[in-house]
Structures are given as C-alpha cells and as structure tokens.
C-alpha cells in the first residue's frame, strides 16, 4: 500500500499526490489541507499575519510521519494509500502548508477519521515549528503536547 511522507520546500501538488495513493480498488479519498491564515481575531495582538516561517528537524520529522501512517493503518486497516506532507520555509497567507490524504475503497471505511487523526498526530509528535511574522514583530508558535516514552 502506498505511503508517502515528506518534508518539502516546494508547492504541495495535491493532484500528483492523490494519483500516487489511488489504487485500482480506490473509490474514496479524504483530504485535509491547512493553509496560512491571514487574519486571526484575537485580543492583544493585531489580527494580520504577514507570513509564517516553518522549520523542521527533517530526518526525525519524516520518521515520525511514517510512525503516524503506521498508527493510521493499525486503527483503520481498510485505508489504502496515505500521504502526509508538510511544506517548510516562508509561506504567505492562503498558501497550503500541510496535506494529509487517506484513500480507501469506500467513504464509510474510516477515511475521514483517519485523515483527522493524521493531522492531529502531526501536530503532536512531528518536529516542525512555525514562526509568525506580522505588524507586531515575530514570534515562534509553541504547541502544548508533551510526547510520552515510545511516541
């Protein structure tokens, strides 16, 4: 079964990735993508974001992405293809930054939940960070998840 996991500094090509995880028996794909938000309503800070600067510890990040894919396969054995891709570098509002796609024979096989699990786990254990740059200056965004032994 095709599994793609990758840190890239190039544009995420959804059609090419989808083609790579589509098998003869595939009839459904659930795709999550996240993009840079240009406006965030929040107190104490201007709402505008100029850009995000992403950084990854690439060899560990790709190993952890592979681990997330293995966790998906264990929980949803009907999933056929999996793609987990994070773009790094300077990314402007509206730009897709991440893509998680899962394929299966039918939509009722868990593909929606599998893609959701993929993005949630990426945000917990894959070593990637982003710095927000806007009118108030720049600041690293920090998550709040603390991995346990074996994660």
């Amino acid at each position: 079964m095709p599994t793609i996991y990758r840190i890239t500094d190039e544009q995420i090509d959804l059609n090419a990735l989808l083609a790579q995880i589509t098998l003869p028996g595939t009839g459904a794909a659930a795709i999550f993508t996240g993009m840079v938000r240009g406006r965030t309503e929040r107190s104490g800070l201007p709402p505008e974001t100029d850009y995000l600067e992403y950084e990854a510890y690439t060899p560990m990040a790709e190993a952890k992405m592979q681990q997330v894919a293995e966790e998906i396969r264990e929980k949803w054995p009907a999933v056929e293809g999996i793609a987990i891709v994070q773009r790094v570098g300077r990314l402007y509002p509206g730009t897709p930054t991440v893509l998680i796609a899962c394929t299966a024979a039918h939509r009722d096989t868990g593909v929606f939940e599998a893609a959701r699990y993929g993005i949630d786990r990426l945000k917990q254990i894959v070593p990637i960070w982003k710095k927000e740059v806007g009118p108030a200056g720049e600041e690293w965004v920090e998550g709040d998840y603390r991995p346990q032994a074996g994660e």
């Binding site: 510890y57 560990m60 991440v98 945000k123 990637i128 998550g143 991995p147």
Partner: protein, 83 residues
C-alpha cells in the same frame, strides 16, 4: 574516555543558544537531565526554555532518566507547532 555527541537546536532553542549545531564531549553515563544542567551553564540564555524543552536522542523522544550513548545526535526543541 569521553563520549562525543552532536547537539542540534531548533526554533526558540536555536535562538537562545545562538547556534544551530555544536559538538560536545560528555562523561559516559550522562543522562538527559545531566545534559540539560550542563547546557544551562554553557548557554545561560537557554534557561527560560529548559522547563518546557523536548529532547530527542537519535531521532526518538528522550526523557530525563535516559543515558545518552556515544556518538548520539541529541536535539533540543520546544513543543511542536507544525501543520
């Protein structure tokens, strides 16, 4: 004989340390917690980050009681924020 390790810093830790990568010699048997203490002396600016820092040894998450093997690649970074 001292053990040689490679240290990598990411995100806020890289800013505080003022470097992305450095080599270091540690006593055999040094644990992750010992290394954090040594780093605080070597890079005093790291102190505010060491409460929440995550550590990996050879690309797996590592914890205070774990010994750091010879030749290890050790990375220090804040809780992740990808996506």
């Amino acid at each position: 004989m001292m053990n040689k390790i490679t240290l990598l810093f990411f995100a806020t830790l890289k800013d505080y340390a003022g470097t992305r990568q450095t080599e270091m010699e540690i006593e055999p048997g040094t644990k992750v917690a010992d290394l954090k203490n040594r780093l605080m002396k070597k890079f005093p600016k790291l102190e505010p980050a060491l409460g929440t820092v995550l550590v990996s040894v050879n690309k797996e998450f590592a914890f205070d009681h774990e010994e750091i093997p010879e030749g290890a690649e050790v990375a220090l970074f804040p809780p992740v924020s990808g996506g």
